[in-house]
């Protein structure tokens, strides 16, 4: 379904690619976790799949195919209809999805109505329903709030609700739960897994939480300095990592009741 072939990506006029030699093949209904160093290019890779690299970012080598089509060859209009409905993204920083100076409700209604013919009232109700499915109590009040009136985790769940509105075929989730408490995190992880069970959604989840990565994934990629340093099944990565970096990461995971700093 998704085939990333040996891509390289640069920002601005940089001569050295930020990301190089990344490949990934995914089937419908598969879940892949990407973990790794901060700044290694995880966000860059999944933004490239969505075709929205910021700051003059460009794919300079390789190809990304989605259901057989080369995404690099798509027209703007084709992109617009794909984005949000077939492929959607939960951004690491909810600010990238939500305009900070407009209330949530009108933004959500507008988002729904660019992808579906539906009345304003219908879109409003759909928005409220999605927010409540993300465990936001009192969805109507959230719709009437400005982003600054919500906590960090509440804003993040607004972004998750938006991304899941149209049951995309491919969900790109960039740190979807790192702003959430553990019980809400567990719930959202379950919701994402349910998307797969019910709609056979494929998911790429980028996360620093190796427990979440391992729990969700069929396959794990480990990135460092713009390259994939380890890839394989969950069992392989956890039990037989091939790179020293993966081993170092696994050793650094904080453990309940484990070593203490103070």
């Amino acid at each position: 379904m998704l085939n990333i072939r040996d891509i390289a990506i640069t920002y601005g006029g940089n001569s050295i690619p930020t990301v190089e030699g990344v490949s990934l093949e995914m089937n419908q209904g598969e879940i892949v976790s990407i973990v790794g160093e901060s700044g290694s290019g995880k966000t860059t890779v999944i933004r490239a799949v969505l075709g929205c690299l910021p700051g003059g970012g460009r794919v300079i080598r390789g190809q990304i195919q989605f259901e057989g089509t080369d995404l690099g060859s798509l027209s703007r209009d084709a992109w617009r209809s794909l984005r949000g409905s077939s492929i959607s993204m939960i951004f690491q920083d909810s600010g990238a999805m939500i305009n900070p100076i407009r209330k949530i409700g009108p933004q959500y209604v507008e988002y729904i109505r660019t992808h579906q013919r539906i009345s304003k009232k219908g879109a409003w109700d759909k928005g409220v329903e999605m927010l409540e499915r993300m465990r936001l109590p009192n969805g109507d009040n959230i719709m009437r709030s400005y982003p600054f009136q919500l906590s960090g985790g509440m804003r993040q769940r607004v972004g998750i609700a938006m991304a899941m509105t149209f049951q995309p075929k491919l969900l790109l989730a960039d740190e979807p739960t790192s702003a959430l408490d553990v019980t809400t995190q567990a719930q959202i992880v379950r919701q994402m897994m349910e998307l797969r069970e019910q709609y056979n959604t494929s998911i790429i989840v980028v996360t620093h939480n190796l427990g979440v990565a391992a729990y969700m994934a069929d396959k794990i990629l480990v990135m460092k300095q713009g390259r994939v340093v380890d890839a394989g099944s969950r069992e392989k990565i956890l039990n037989n990592p091939s790179s020293d970096y993966t081993r170092k990461l696994l050793d650094s995971v904080p453990v309940m009741g484990g070593d203490r700093f103070v």
Binding site: P54, N141, S178, A179, V182, M256, R260
Partner: protein, 319 residues
């Protein structure tokens, strides 16, 4: 109280209310009393939206409580204004949850990192770049990032800029609001080791809001558990995993993902809906989701009670 630690800042019966839609009132903090001691870390955990950031914003004087007082070395800082407030600010710094919202996109990293130092005339303009490079390297970023802009960096890199900026003034108290959540665990460990080392050397107190239960218990002397604006439990960091008593704390500990869990079992969590802070129930705030809820829980709010040294719980099971 228990052992005599050096108390620096004490929040006393702090309540914060916000106006909400349709003329309603949202209670973000309800009668919160917490202490910051010299050289010690207070971890704060709790459900998203329960009021952790709101509380800390009051501690760093960005907002004023609706009721209650915040005593810094005995003086109520909620009353400070003008120059006195400005001078006070250098003693308490905050690393914000959302770094991209906290930085002006037009400022270079060195300007962001050195802004507090220049404001308080601790360095000269000419020393800016060199100082910024040193601070960035402390948080494992290349010194060259001093000349970058925040939007040209990854999430975790921006977050470390926020930490470097807070460390710059060498304040007495640093509040870290999800300050390490965008870092990979290996860099996170390095940053935490740095924070702990500085704490030992300079006796800094930290307020550490964090959703990673395993991390927060490993670096906190004390952990406060919040729910719907209320403190439910305060306990030593080392006791969180095995010694926590409140049903909400226990639910949180049970919902932690770890590498040695059984991946074929669905993760545990609390299934029922969270109540809204707009209409918090009478009685125990956690009653609608507690599987040990009793009759009294629906009528009377359990007070926070000390049940062992340094361990307080607000739950009728332990009255």
């Amino acid at each position: 109280m228990s052992e005599p630690h050096d108390l620096i800042l004490a929040a006393r019966h702090v309540t914060k209310k916000y106006p909400a839609s349709n003329g309603r009132i949202l209670v973000a903090n309800n009668d919160v009393s917490l202490n910051f001691y010299r050289g010690r870390t207070l971890g704060v955990v709790g459900e998203s939206g329960c009021g952790k950031s709101t509380f800390m914003r009051m501690v760093v004087s960005l907002e004023a409580p609706t009721e209650g007082e915040i005593l810094y070395r005995g003086q109520d800082i909620t009353k400070l204004r003008g120059e006195a407030l400005r001078q006070h600010r250098q003693k308490i710094q905050m690393v914000f949850q959302d770094p991209s919202a906290a930085f002006s996109p037009k400022m270079k990293i060195m300007d962001i990192v050195c802004e507090p130092l220049l404001n308080f005339k601790r360095i000269k303009k000419g020393e800016k770049e060199e100082t910024a490079r040193r601070l960035l390297e402390m948080v494992e970023l290349p010194g060259d990032f001093a000349r970058r802009y925040p939007h040209n960096m990854s999430g975790g890199q921006r977050q470390r800029v926020g930490i470097a900026r807070a460390l710059a003034l060498e304040p007495e108290i640093i509040v870290c609001d999800e300050a390490t959540s965008a870092l990979d665990v290996s860099v996170q460990k390095t940053v935490v080791e740095l924070l702990v080392r500085l704490q030992r050397e300079k006796n800094i107190s930290y307020g550490f809001i964090c959703h990673d239960m395993a991390l927060v218990q490993s670096l906190s002397h004390q952990v406060a558990v919040m729910y719907l604006g209320n403190i439910m439990e305060i306990l030593p960091g080392g006791q969180v995993s095995h010694g926590c008593l409140h049903p909400y704390t226990q639910a949180m500990v049970g919902a932690v993902f770890d590498l040695h869990m059984d991946f074929s079992h669905p993760i545990r969590s609390i299934d029922s809906e969270a109540p809204s802070p707009l209409d918090a129930p009478a009685g125990c705030p956690f009653q609608s989701r507690c599987d040990r809820c009793m009759e009294i829980c629906k009528q009377e709010r359990p007070p926070l009670r000390e049940i062992a040294p340094e361990h307080q719980v607000a739950c009728h099971l332990y009255q």
